[in-house]
Amino acid sequence: MEERNFICICCPMGCSLTVVMKGEEVVEVAGNTCKRGDIYARNEVINPMRMVTSTVKVIGGRENVVSVKTKEDIPKGKIFECVRALKDVKVNAPVYMGDTIMKNVANTGVDIVATKNVECKEA
């Protein structure tokens, strides 16, 4: 049996998790305060996932940029591809929280959505 230690990053509590492995199989997860910690630990040993947050440029808005996120977590290895894909994206104001900015970013099957409202610049 092998033990691996993680810090749960699903929320700012940052619980210290211990995963007991038998070969490729997860035998037990300990140290989590809630169920998300258990899920996180299992994923972290098999397929680590992250939410990516960034900004994209806005044309004609009250702000120059709007904040965005991946609607769900994407594989850790895809983070940079995702960030690069957002580099030259420009959207027209108005943009509202939850609007889809890009579909299927970096072939992850996950969309990019806005996390803020940016109204049009007053004429």
Binding site: R50, T55, V65
Partner: protein, 422 residues
Amino acid sequence: MKEYDIVIIGGGPAGLAAAVSAKKNGIKNILILERDKELGGILNQCIHNGFGLHTFKEELTGPEYAEKFIQQVKEGKIEYKRNTMVTDISPKKVVTAMNHEEGLFEIQAKAVVLAMGCRERARGALNIPGYRPAGIFSAGTAQRFVNMEGYLPGREVVILGSGDIGLIMARRMTFEGAKVKVVAELMPYSGGLKRNIVQCLDDYGIPLKLRHTVVDIKGKKRLEGVVLAEVDERGKPISGTEEFYSCDTLLLSVGLIPENELSMAMGVEINPVTMGPEVNEILETSMEGVFACGNVLHVHDLVDFVSQEAATAGKNAALYVKMGNTRKRKGKKILLNAKEGIRYTVPGAIHVENMDENLMVRFRVDNVYKNCYINMYLNDERVMHKKCLVLTPGEMEEIKLIKEDLLSYPNLKTITLKIEEA
């Protein structure tokens, strides 16, 4: 002069939650004053995720978390003024504020909630020799530039201080194409949340150098590099350990201080450790009918706790408006002593008769403690002995006081909290 039952100074998460809670507790005549152009406070620039799991059971970014409360404020038809700076609060609770439309104006409040948040420690507070070239920013200022103005302050970055904002900015600048070379931390431990170290540094292979500081700044007009050195136990640089890092940007993430100029001018007593107001069991400051919550009271790392604390302050402000000081300061004052390992507690003193059924006491420790116990004593008797795997100064802790237990304790004089190492 216009009159309001409750005037809330600051429209960040604390001010918003206090307003919503005061409204729920039956007060209709509430006004929020915010100097920025948007409600939401510092959350507007915190575009990363990780907010609100405990409050909303879903993981939100800063602006999304703020929006939930802004919606509640709007649904409750709570009045607010943006672009409005409060310049003075008199001991009689006359609030002086100014904005473009109305100029300078005064408002009479029955109760005031202080929710002004905190600001970053300035570079002047640091003891770095050398020139002051362009390219040195506080991490929060850089966060604002990148996330709200879409402007990248530099390409090669060194970060001094491992507070959360610095850690978050290490990842953020990396995403924007900058090279973050190193994060240096004077202390032997990081001041940031564990998850930020994992998620913002480890994920990107950015080294964290503990017990290191900047000893020299190179460059006259624009920053060209910094020299880091290791420090000894007393924080003094060890000669021979100097190392040069070329960079065009130095971010400082060296801590936050509650913004209490208004409170102090009003005459509110300030706790020298937290730099926030002294408060009692109902989060009332030393001045009657003046409450405090959020980062102006003590620096929080989790906005969820800010919202909870603010809801308590809002509720008590509402009760104060309805009942005046009749329920105030009943019984004798019991001091909360922060002893071995505990830097402070909020509140610092309570009137047990006046407590709700339960009271959350929040505190911070002064060092990293592993496999230790949090002990609580009523007078000299130990009544709690709680095992903790790890306590760090970067993470706020809390314990619950139960009114019944305190009331039934004979001749209670003091409540003491201590850390005991195993």
